[in-house]
């Protein structure tokens, strides 16, 4: 057995470092651009408009009615799905190379390798919170507000744990398996279409050649998170007990995997770079 010269400090003790990394990411990302923060909203806005046009107008994809009884509006419904998805997608894409890009630092100073990864996720979370704010404003404009909004923090906390854990696991494994980035890109693209974001889940056949496709799509963790957010924010319904179980379970599983990956592969990462 061996004991290293490292402070025995918890994740909580490193919150200030994580926040510093997040600030660094935010500042360096928008420094030198005239529009600054506005840029961070350009990409999701462009996605929203494209998808609204293609899937809402060209392909005639409808949206379920609002929780207040008004007829549904595709773009708003789509936005409620895209915001959590974008958080998941961008958090993973941005954090994957963080260990490698902070390599010089990790070899010269000790700090836990999760700090820059979680810092990157935190920076994305800040942008995501702005998008959630915009979603709220839009929903309020449609008069679609309800007491179920109070459940939002209970949905958000496990979702952050889930996204942070997945990002952490992938970012650490990315050092050991250098082509994980390519695989992840493909997997994320597949997952996007396997998650009911641009379509309603009841549009897919329940069974196809004996495979229960709809149930399978419903099992995917992002389906659970996206669907329950839409329920409580758009449809103003309380998600079912099984949804809540899914929300908690996926967060717990992801956190457990991240813990294993970090303790087995993340502690000596300065040597692996």
């Amino acid at each position: 057995m061996s004991t290293a010269a490292r402070p025995r400090a918890s994740l909580w003790a490193y919150r200030s470092l994580i926040w510093n990394f997040a600030q660094r990411d935010l500042k360096s990302r928008f420094k030198g651009t005239a529009l600054g923060w506005a840029w961070s909203l350009m990409a999701p806005l462009a996605t929203l408009m494209t998808y609204s046009l293609v899937f809402g107008v060209f392909l005639g994809g409808g949206a379920p009615p609002f929780g207040n009884g008004r007829p549904g509006f595709f773009s708003v419904w789509l936005l409620a799905g895209l915001v959590p998805w974008n958080f998941f997608l961008i958090a993973i894409l941005i954090s994957m190379p963080t260990i490698l890009s902070n390599g010089a630092m990790l070899q010269k100073v000790y700090f836990p390798s999760y700090a820059p990864i979680l810092g990157a996720v935190t920076a994305i979370l800040v942008q995501t919170m702005i998008e959630f704010g915009i979603l709220a404003v839009v929903l309020i404009a449609f008069g679609n507000v309800g007491p179920t909004w109070l459940l939002f923090p209970f949905w958000l906390a496990p979702f952050i744990v889930f996204v942070g854990s997945v990002a952490l696991s992938l970012a650490i494994m990315n050092v050991h398996i250098r082509d994980l980035g390519h695989l992840t890109n493909v997997a994320l693209q597949l997952l996007f279409f396997l998650t009911p974001i641009i379509y309603q889940i009841d549009r897919i056949p329940a069974e196809w050649h004996g495979i229960h496709v709809r149930a399978l799509v419903g099992l995917n963790p992002m389906s659970v998170y996206v669907d329950s957010l839409r329920q409580l924010a758009y449809a103003l319904e309380v998600p079912s007990l099984s949804s809540w179980l899914g929300i908690g379970a996926w967060a717990a599983v992801a956190a457990a995997v991240a813990y294993l990956v970090y303790t087995r592969r993340g502690l000596d990462i300065g040597e692996a770079i």
């Binding site: 061996s2 003790a13 990790l106 502690l267 040597e271």
Partner: protein, 422 residues
């Protein structure tokens, strides 16, 4: 409170050396799993303690495991086996500015580095003025560090590392960069930190730094502790070993030397110098002579026929081309030599030459007639003990106590204070 800052027990660190690493899935599929490579112990079973408030020097040749040890102590590497206890907040200066991000301003980088060291925002704000003052880079502090000159970068990095009140400071030889003035400032600051009770671990090749700054030192050789003890002892043992090793290296290569330059010889040839031996204080042949020690230069000669008058001479030419000295036996008269082989010794009580390489010329002459002249044929290596003065030779002499000739305005006051202190 314990009396040590760092305690290492049976500390070992192993690395796996891979010729080629399969770090992609594609490679793993195509070529299968690689054997583990061979192991390399950068540090083997090292046990030592560093007292609180002391300065500890780590020395050894390149690749001896100094930097690995420092990284293990700093927590960057985890030891393969053994344990290390560290009491106090560590600030490691392994590379200046390693924690800097080019797009952030100096001030923002100070905050980031402070957070890495585990300081709270409040503590960092408290140290901010001192850092700005020490770095002395003016309004650049609010500009991104990527536009800094390398000098400003180094200044800021050093200022951050030493001003955030580390309890234990680990320094690799990084401070050997920067201009003379800044280096001096750095060393002054290190001395200051030491005085205030900061534990310092210093990796250096500079023996004088070890002697001047360190209380204790550890000499590492191929990952193992060669010697651990007071800094002066360890430094002496180290330099003795380096000299010894150079001795061996020269000894192996010296067989082919004699007679090699004979064709360049000038002179009638009745007497020829065949070789020159450098004898140390004990009369034993040595490839190097130690500055300040007694020694003997032995010239072996071969006389073809008896010669009635000869004078031997030596000439020392420094590698810079300066003719340093040319002693000859003429002042002591001349000798008659019988035919055959023999030697003549030039005994030196105290070698005044400073460390360096000298080309030695030998001459055998008689009043205007040259028997043998070997122009710069022999090499003399002079080594020091580390306490080197500038110049080619030492100047023998003794310094006397200073004498005050006229008192300044404060002289009486100082004298009073002095007597009170006693």
């Amino acid at each position: 409170m314990s009396d040590y800052a760092i305690r290492a027990q049976n500390l070992s660190k192993r690395f796996w050396l891979h010729g080629e690493r399969h770090t992609s899935l594609k490679q793993r599929f195509v070529r299968g799993k690689l054997p583990k490579g061979h192991e390399f112990w950068a540090l083997k079973d090292a046990t030592f303690e560093i007292e609180r408030g002391s300065t500890f020097g780590l020395m050894g040749q390149n690749g001896s495991g100094k930097s690995t040890t420092l990284k293990v102590l700093a927590g960057i590497y985890r030891p393969t086996s053994g344990s290390v206890d560290v009491h106090g907040r560590v600030s490691a200066l392994l590379e200046l500015g390693a924690g800097f991000h080019g797009d952030l301003t100096g001030r923002e980088n100070i905050r980031l580095n402070g957070a890495i060291l585990g300081l709270t925002g409040k503590q960092i704000s408290g140290a901010m003025d001192q850092i700005l003052d020490f770095a002395g880079i003016g309004e650049f502090i609010d500009l991104p560090v990527k536009i800094y000159s390398s000098g400003m970068y180094v200044r800021l990095a050093f200022a951050v590392a030493v001003s955030l009140k580390p309890e234990i400071l680990m320094v690799d030889e990084v401070i050997a960069v920067g201009d003379e003035e800044f280096q001096r400032k750095c060393f002054d600051h290190l001395f200051d930190l030491r005085k205030r009770g900061t534990t310092i671990v210093l990796v250096t090749h500079s023996l004088s730094l070890i002697r001047d700054m360190c209380d204790k030192a550890m000499w590492l050789d191929h990952g193992e502790i060669r010697k651990l003890g007071s800094a002066i002892e360890v430094a002496d043992a180290y330099i003795a070993d380096v000299n010894e090793r150079e001795f061996q290296a020269h000894h192996v290569g010296s067989d082919e030397a004699p007679g090699a330059g004979e064709s360049k010889r000038i002179g009638s040839g009745e007497v020829r110098v065949t070789s020159v031996d450098w004898l140390d204080g004990k009369g034993k042949p040595s490839p190097v002579l130690l500055a300040g020690d007694p020694c003997t230069i032995r010239m072996h000669y071969s006389a073809r026929e008896p010669v009635s008058h000869v004078v031997f001479g030596l000439g020392f030419l420094h590698e810079s081309g300066v003719n340093v000295s040319g002693p000859n036996s003429g002042r002591q008269g001349s000798w008659a030599l019988e035919a055959g082989n023999g030697h003549v010794d030039f005994a030196i009580d105290e070698l005044l030459l400073q460390p360096g390489t000298y080309q030695v010329t030998t001459a055998v002459v008689d009043r205007g007639r040259t028997f043998d002249y070997a122009d710069r044929e022999f090499d003399l290596h002079v080594r020091g003990r580390g306490d080197q003065e500038p110049g080619l030779t030492r100047m023998p002499g003794t310094w006397k106590d200073p004498v005050t000739e006229s008192g300044g305005p404060d002289a009486t006051m100082l004298a009073q204070e002095d007597s009170r202190a006693r």
